[in-house]
Amino acid sequence: MTIKELRKRFISGELTPLEYMEELLETIRQKERKINAFTHLEKTDTLLKEAELWTEKYKSGEELPPLAGIPVAIKDNIAVKDMPLTCASKILQEFTSPYDATAVRKLKEAGAIIIGKTNLDEFAMGSTTEFSIFGPTHNPVDLERVPGGSSGGSAASVAAGMVPVALGSDTGGSVRQPASFTDTVGIKPSYGMVSRYGLVAFASSLDQIGVLAKNVEDASLIIRVIAGKDKYDATSRELSVKNIFDAFETIDGVKIGVWKELDNHPAEDGVMKVWDDAIMKASKEFQMIPVSLPDIASGIASYYLIAPAEASANLARYDGVRYAWRVLDASTYKEMVKRTRTIGFGKEVKRRIMIGTFALSAGYQDAFYKKAVAMRYRIMQNFEEAFKQVDVILVPTSPKLPWKIGQKMSPSEVYKADLYTIPVNLAGLPAVSIPAGYVDNLPVGIQVIGKYGEDEKVWAVADKLMGLWR
């Protein structure tokens, strides 16, 4: 059931927000123990009371905001007033947010019910949702496998039917890759479209709030609600979106680009098979044009310098001085800060802080950080060139199928699995990952990437393609 259908039923009285909430809570009761999608669930009483309130309002027939009574889950690196904001880290374990993120405020104003906070890799650094103080999230498609990450909790909660939509965040693929792994849809908007105010910064120039849902319509509808320039985020932009319940734009004559160099950087065989099928199906409906993006594979190197560099500064505020947890028996400031951070951060977070600090340090900044930024500009140019010929570009979402929880991989092996998603963040572009097929019952997603600010077009094409591929 889509959100539009839900709303229709809420209005007709065929289904009430209260009944729907009870259904979801029942699903959560049944599945959450095995999936571990949430880091925090709002109290059942509170949720039922809120749903009941909307039920009454629907009965009275008054004009209600667009998402009235629709439950939404929020990744636990996005601030919801008076709910925990842990980032799945020990260092923020005791922290509750004193304010709402702008995206959350807009959802609340639109009538959404915030059901709880979802699991993630600590500070969104990872692609498996295993690196969490709350333990790993399991993939609803196959409980022994990872749901992807870092928005694995959001993806799993949607995939398991525990919630119709969830907010995630995407710094290098953290919405799209879990969407691909859990057979859901994940939208990463153009950089600046959605305010980052209240999103705990990992890498500020790459981070963007995104949405996970079962279909493109639901996901895009949420973006339409939360989009807009915000006075609390200097990087936010007013980019055009349609009204919340408007139909997608027409896409007659849209030209689809297919990444030419994929053969030099192929995904594993099963993924490639789904990819080839998908391209063939698409070519029956669309004009398909091979496009060259020669440098985007170097995005891995660029990203794994820029993101950690920014993170090393973004995470400096977690010093135990002002809020949350601190080591209490330290005799000096420095000892307190060092021990708090050493105990408070997990292994992967420390790796990123270390490599990022190094990349910025005197004597190394030119050879590492600055070269990485130069490469970033080159990748932007790659896309600019390609978009002279086509409207959107297709690239697989992940070179790998969801792997087993606990599987041994070296850090760089894991990082390299972000190959297809990272260039999109480096260039600040809009993209959607949509389900494209299965290999041995494991889902494969494909990304539709668009020009900066043309998010609506990307969604329209993605919606159409998803129809073809299903």
Partner: protein
């Protein structure tokens, strides 16, 4: 990469980042850095010089606003005294 990573460099970086590591962890970091250098080799010989183009930015007007009640922020303070936040001393008794 012709840059050499050693334990000394790792220790220096750790100190800047306010993190502490055991000897074993420092050795792990040496190999992690080396592993990452192989990834960074993808950058090739691209020049580190680039222009930063200006972009549209949101600025704020000079009108005071209370975004969050300060009591709400105090509640989250780690340790307070007379309205001040309390932080351990810069020097300990045993240091000079």
């Amino acid at each position: 990469m012709d840059i050499k990573v050693d334990k000394e460099l790792v220790r220096k970086i750790a100190d800047m980042a306010m993190l502490e590591f055991s000897e074993e962890e420092i050795e792990e970091f040496v190999s992690y850095f080396e592993e990452m250098f192989d990834v960074f080799d993808m950058l090739g010989d691209i020049s580190p010089d680039y222009e930063i183009p200006p972009l549209p930015a949101t600025l704020h007007e000079d009108e005071p606003e209370r975004r969050v009640d300060y009591h709400d922020l105090w509640m989250r303070f780690s340790l307070m005294k007379n309205g001040y936040l309390l932080v351990p001393p810069l020097r300990g008794g045993d240091e000079e």
